[in-house]
């Protein structure tokens, strides 16, 4: 689903209406950020990306009166909430005993839904595994930056805002992340 674009002037109207509690405004904001947040938390390996996305949006909507800023700021703000929830979820998971499901359905979310062409599924599965392994090989900061940049589609400045870093630091992390991927891929190619 393509993320709808709101110009700044339009966003001011939508934000004002949302702060007045109007449902149509919440719907516009929902369409602005819901799918990117879902994609981001799914890529981060959340065991229940739907629940986490719902919770993120509810928190943002409940606190909408406290937000001020433009559309870019709003996106960064909601992703900040999502990232905080992800961290909470990981901490909570680390405290609980780990359980493994015997079915594939409960595993880490797949990039694309299964069902249909076997060949397509096989290639998709191969891609999934490669992406997962590659993400695992990255430092957490690098992984955060790459996912916010290329999955959530945030700008350098927005990513910096979400992570509490400078734009320069984000650029450097992205560069190092890509370099790590390049090295990892080269090693895999040679060894295979």
């Amino acid at each position: 689903m393509a993320t709808p674009i709101l110009c700044d002037e339009e966003f001011v109207v939508v934000l004002g209406a949302a702060q007045d509690g109007k449902s149509w405004a919440f719907e516009r904001l929902f369409h602005l950020v819901a799918q990117p947040i879902l994609s981001y938390v799914r890529a981060q390996g959340s065991p229940d990306p739907d629940a986490l996305t719902n919770e993120t949006l509810l928190r943002a909507f409940r606190a909408i009166a406290s937000f001020s800023g433009d559309v870019d700021g709003f996106r960064a703000w909601t992703f900040t909430i999502a990232r905080c929830r992800l961290i909470d979820e990981r901490r909570s998971r680390a405290r609980r005993p780990r359980t493994e499901s015997l079915t594939d359905d409960a595993g880490v979310a797949r990039l694309v839904p299964r069902g249909g062409d076997v060949e397509v599924e096989a290639f998709a599965s191969f891609g999934d595994d490669w992406v997962r392994d590659t993400l695992d090989a990255l430092a957490p900061d690098q992984r955060d930056v790459l996912l916010l940049r290329f999955v959530a589609d945030l700008s350098i400045d927005q990513t910096a805002s979400v992570l509490g870093k400078t734009p320069g630091a984000v650029k450097a992390l992205q560069h190092r992340g890509i370099a790590t991927i390049r090295r990892t891929s080269a090693v895999e190619t040679v060894s295979s």
Binding site: M1, A18, D20, G21, K22, S23, A25, F26, E27, F30, A34, Q35, P36, L38, S39, Y40, R42, A43, D50, A51, T53, N54, L57, L58, F61, R62, A63, I64, A65, S66, A109, R110, L111, V112, P113, G127, W130, V131, T134, L146, L147, F150, V151, D153, I156, P167, V170, K171, A172, Q174, H175, I178, A179, I181, R182, T184, S185, A186
Partner: protein
């Protein structure tokens, strides 16, 4: 020169095959299955943000669109909708007091607390604490135990009782602007009237010395960066150490402590500005 670094401008899209392939794979996350929307979020999208309307005793019905509360129907509806809702009570009070409408802050507390009884115990505790900070206790018309909501009449029976008349007078008078209506009159009109006449003349308030006596090691609260005894924001130099001593972990002198003027009780809760201490009797020094 590092060829890899020089050939790639940090922040640009990856220009090598492996990087580009990985980014392309990452982009596939965007086309995953759509979000399964929860009932709670769906109600937000369908009905907008809930607004609270609370009737306090025989006083006026109060609408509170600025805070996140469930729509008030009857007691059963309140219980259903309020479960798990967290009300930004403190912010509401602070915003209103800063806007110079102290009486409105008290009215809001009354209304919110009227609903608070159906919220989880932790939330109720927060409300009680916040109410206590502005010197009132909330109960029903007869007691300070708890407000009640009558399912039949769809009304909250909320009583406001002065916890400590002198303390309350000091706090509210501090927040009220010149020419503002007498907060006690507003509270009395909207509640049981149990606080009427409770506001003392500020000239009668007890005074005392600021709490700046040195601790066991000779450092005062202000030096430690601590707030007052009830506040949050502790975490300055541990007792027994001054900021200009070298810490055991090697922290250089002058580091590690809360800067002067920081670390006190948040403003607006009990009226003590950050970094300031209190005199006995609740007067801000």
């Amino acid at each position: 020169m590092d060829r890899e670094r020089s050939s790639h401008d940090p922040g640009d899209q990856p220009d090598d095959l492996a990087g580009a392939a990985f980014v392309a794979e990452l982009a596939r996350f965007r086309i995953g299955p759509p979000l399964r929307i929860s009932d709670e979020l769906a109600s937000f999208l369908d009905e907008g943000r809930p607004v609270a309307t609370v009737a306090v005793d025989d006083g006026p019905v109060i609408d509170l669109p600025v805070i996140d509360l469930p729509v008030i129907g009857d007691a059963e509806t309140i219980s259903d909708q309020a479960e798990g809702v967290v009300v930004p009570f403190r912010r509401t009070v602070r915003r209103r007091t800063r806007a110079g409408v102290a009486s409105a802050a008290v009215m809001a507390s009354v209304a919110v607390l009227g609903v608070a009884q159906v919220l989880p115990a932790a939330a109720q505790s927060m409300f009680s604490h916040a109410a206590s900070a502005i010197g009132i206790e909330i109960g029903d018309s007869d007691s300070t135990t708890t407000p009640t909501v009558d399912a039949g009449s769809n009304r909250a029976d909320v009583g406001v009782h002065a916890k400590d008349p002198s303390r309350r007078a000091g706090r509210i008078a501090d927040a009220a602007p010149a020419g503002a209506p007498d907060p006690s009159a507003q509270v009395g009109a909207a509640s049981t009237g149990s606080v009427e006449g409770a506001v003392a003349d500020r000239a009668d308030l007890p005074t005392g010395d600021p709490v700046t006596e040195p601790d066991a090691a000779g450092a005062t609260d202000s030096e430690n960066g601590n707030g007052d005894a009830n506040g949050v924001g502790n975490g300055g130099t541990p007792p027994g150490q001054r900021e200009d001593t070298i810490a055991p972990d090697g922290t250089p002198p002058g580091h590690g402590g809360v800067p002067p003027g920081h670390g006190g009780t948040p403003p607006g809760l009990d009226g003590t500005p950050p970094g300031q201490t209190k005199k006995a009797g609740g007067v801000v020094s």
